[in-house]
Amino acid sequence: MADALVEMRGIVKTYPGVVALDGVDFTLGAGEIHALVGENGAGKSTLIRILTGAEQPDRGRIRLSGREIRPRRPAEAQRLGVAAVYQEINLAPDLSIAENLLLGREPRAPLGWIRWGEMRRRARRILGDMGLEAEVATPLRHCSIAVRQMIAVARAVDQKAKVLVLDEPTSSLDAAETSRLFDLMRRLRGLGLGILFITHFLEQVYAVSDRITILRGGRRVGSHAARDLSRLALVSAMLGKAAPEAAAARPRTRPVDSGAPARLVARRVFRRRVVQPFDLTLRSGEVLGFAGLLGSGRTEIARLLFGVDARDGGTLSVNGKTVQHHSPRRAIRCGMALAPEDRRAAGLVPHLSVRDNILLALHASRGWLRRLPRRRQHALAERFVRSLSIATPDLSRPVAQLSGGNQQKVILARWLLMEPTILLLDEPTRGIDIGAKDQIESLVGDLRARGMAIIFISGELEEVARVSDRVLVLRDRSVAGELAGADLRLSSIMERIAGSGGGDGGA
């Protein structure tokens, strides 16, 4: 690369107990859109935080246009020409577009007055240069997220940014808005800016990027021109698996019994900007896996099915009954249970005891008046602590003091004692040790044998392939295919995740 705009060399960053970046090199050229991809914990955020001055590296050098820089604060990086537009956009929603564009740089009259006319003219020119159309007096609050994002980009560019970091700018945009943003990005590329683009959507990586750098576990696994990197190779690199083309089909322990009663049927269910319409049938005694990259819609579908988020359309029936207004409370009453992906945010009540956390859903379903006698509570909680071997000194210990694996088992216990007919497990094994993981996997097998209908979601593809009878592959917020029987192999899952450019999909 002749004119490297940004060169990061040997960047190391450690946090207590974690090596976030382990000697990462990264090069961004002028007039280049460069996608940075990787699963959670790969180090993407840390790398851009270092580039934009929000963090300092332990080791390593950063050069901008050949000059070594060491930004200590985002403001300093911005002065040097590195600007970032984050997911939560740092704009003032109650100010107008013009005020936001020129915040802190308002044209002043001699007495320090703001020259409003001049300000609006300048704002209009900035928007014009970017090919954006908007009335500059409009308060930002009234603009769509897409427009706000583009205003943030426009402001950065107007502040003489040479490097633009876009951290998941499309996560809340629809297709039309996304393509407008891409147009803007291409325009800026034409002006010679270097754009670092982070997204979880593979389609978008290929739609707009010139180069792709892949991080995994704090290391750079590769940096390629987008046209030289197949989707399958990209997915393999992100997940750290060579595409096992020749892997033998794993015999299913049990064929899927298509005569078993359908527990959960979804038809054309969707939520705007979150999940494209999908169909799904879940039968008694089967494990349906969801496989897909982060942000592919796997958690979002689980939330729709359980009624955490309202669906915008489609029909859903649970155990034969059509469900209209859905909520977790109703879903539970219909016999559903969801162990959420984010245990801390959506699972545990941290300073309540292990016992209260285990019994929370049961108490909720009984209502406030029909409290279980204390002895019965104790016996129930005790039984599940023992059967799931939850390691806790006693039942009245605050659940926050338990390890991650044991916390996960507390949530499983909460739902198992409700004896659901449909169990949704979202990342039940994330962040827990191998032993607990094996236990949870074999538990899933037992529950299936007892006729429970289970949805198993995991970012670990082998795990999904190992545990599930059928797998729905998700890509870019929609269902990209279903695999079962002999087709259910790691390689075919990866091909489906990679989508079109990924070679011949399926078997």
Binding site: F306, V308, P328, R329, I332, R333, L338, P340, A345, A346, G347, L348, V349, P350, H351, L352, D356, L360, A361, H363, A364, S365, R366, G367, W368, L369, R370, R371, R414
Partner: protein, 333 residues
């Protein structure tokens, strides 16, 4: 349990120290006598005068337990008192006046709870609305005047009567505490409140009806505030829309905080809030009784002393403050 005991230690010690201080200055402080079949004495006065704040603090601990706050309780007192007095004035019986006051209080709580739970208005803003509007409503009811209650009205017993020698306000506050403790421990309501306050999202996933729990907490609060308003009106035999319960929301919140309930929600202690309310009243009484060289403490100083004691209590209970003090203590050792 150990947590609760530790949280109660300081307020308990503070009450004991204040009592000892009073007893040393005037041994009569500790005397209890039966006069006309009724217990009298300075300590009974403390409890009697503290009853409204005790009631408010009880309800406030539930509301704060859900992660909320209620600034309108003083105004609810005023509306309830005004409603009762107006009913009596128009010839209604004492019983129906009490019923009306309680209904008005519960309705006000329902209103607050609905704003918070259904419309998602932050509790401090939602209850500020009734804090301001409630006094207006009370003034409308009383036509801006102080409505007096006839000296022979049965309703006055709520503020002045006694049962088995114990003043009724004290009995009312203690029974309310008992009822709430039963509600919290014998039903699942206490757990639900702590669940909603501790992690609303997780509670929703577990199938709790977060909205109804919030609304229930504010409604119980409204009911208790109405009871406090009745005691106040019966005590002075008048409904004063402007001054009934004025600033008592602050005393109630302080009582809850002193009692070891975190304003962040997820935890509450009935006993702690009761003790906090007793402490606040003991403090006021102590300051009122104290005199320096024959002169009583001026009112301005009263408030400052109160603030200082409350600040000191909050500091000893604050983890941050303890951490700050640790290096100093070890340096001194």
């Amino acid at each position: 349990m150990r947590d609760v005991a530790r949280n109660l230690l300081w307020p308990f010690a503070a009450v004991a120290i204040l009592m000892a201080f009073n007893a040393l200055r005037d041994p009569a402080f500790l005397h209890l006598r039966l006069v006309d079949g009724r217990l009298t004495g300075a300590m009974i006065d403390v409890l009697n005068q503290g009853a409204p704040v005790m009631l408010l603090a009880l309800g406030m601990s539930l509301v704060i337990g859900t992660g909320g706050i209620d600034l309108s309780v003083g105004a609810i007192m005023a509306v309830a008192g005004a409603a009762a007095a107006a009913m009596l004035h128009s010839g209604a019986s004492s019983a129906s006046a009490v019923g009306a006051a309680l209904a008005v209080g519960a309705a006000a709580g329902l209103w607050n709870g609905s704003l918070v739970a259904l419309l998602g208005i932050p509790p401090i803003v939602a209850t500020l609305i009734f804090m301001v509007a409630g006094r207006g409503v009370a003034q409308l009811i009383t036509d801006g005047e102080i409505i007096t209650i006839a000296p022979d009205a049965a309703i006055l017993a709520i503020g002045r009567g006694s049962l088995f020698g114990v003043p009724l306000p004290v009995l009312t506050a203690l029974s309310a505490a008992g009822a709430l403790a039963a509600l919290a421990r014998l039903t699942s309501l206490g757990l639900f409140i702590e669940g909603v306050g501790g992690n609303e999202e997780a509670s929703r996933y577990a199938g709790l009806s977060v909205r109804s729990i919030r609304i229930a907490a504010y409604s119980i609060m409204g009911l208790l505030a109405a009871l406090a308003g009745l005691i106040d009106a019966a005590d002075i035999a008048a409904a004063d829309a402007n001054n009934c319960g004025l600033y008592l929301e602050l005393d109630a919140i302080l009582a809850v905080v002193i009692g070891g309930t975190a304003l962040t929600g997820g935890r509450f202690s009935i006993a702690g809030s009761l003790l906090g309310a007793v402490l606040i009243q003991t403090l006021s009484t102590t300051i009122l009784r104290a005199d320096f060289g024959g002169r009583s403490v001026p009112v301005e100083l009263n408030l400052i002393i109160k603030a200082a004691v409350v600040l000191a209590l909050c500091l000893v209970q604050s983890g941050e403050w303890r951490r700050l003090c640790r290096p100093i203590r070890s340096a001194a050792a």
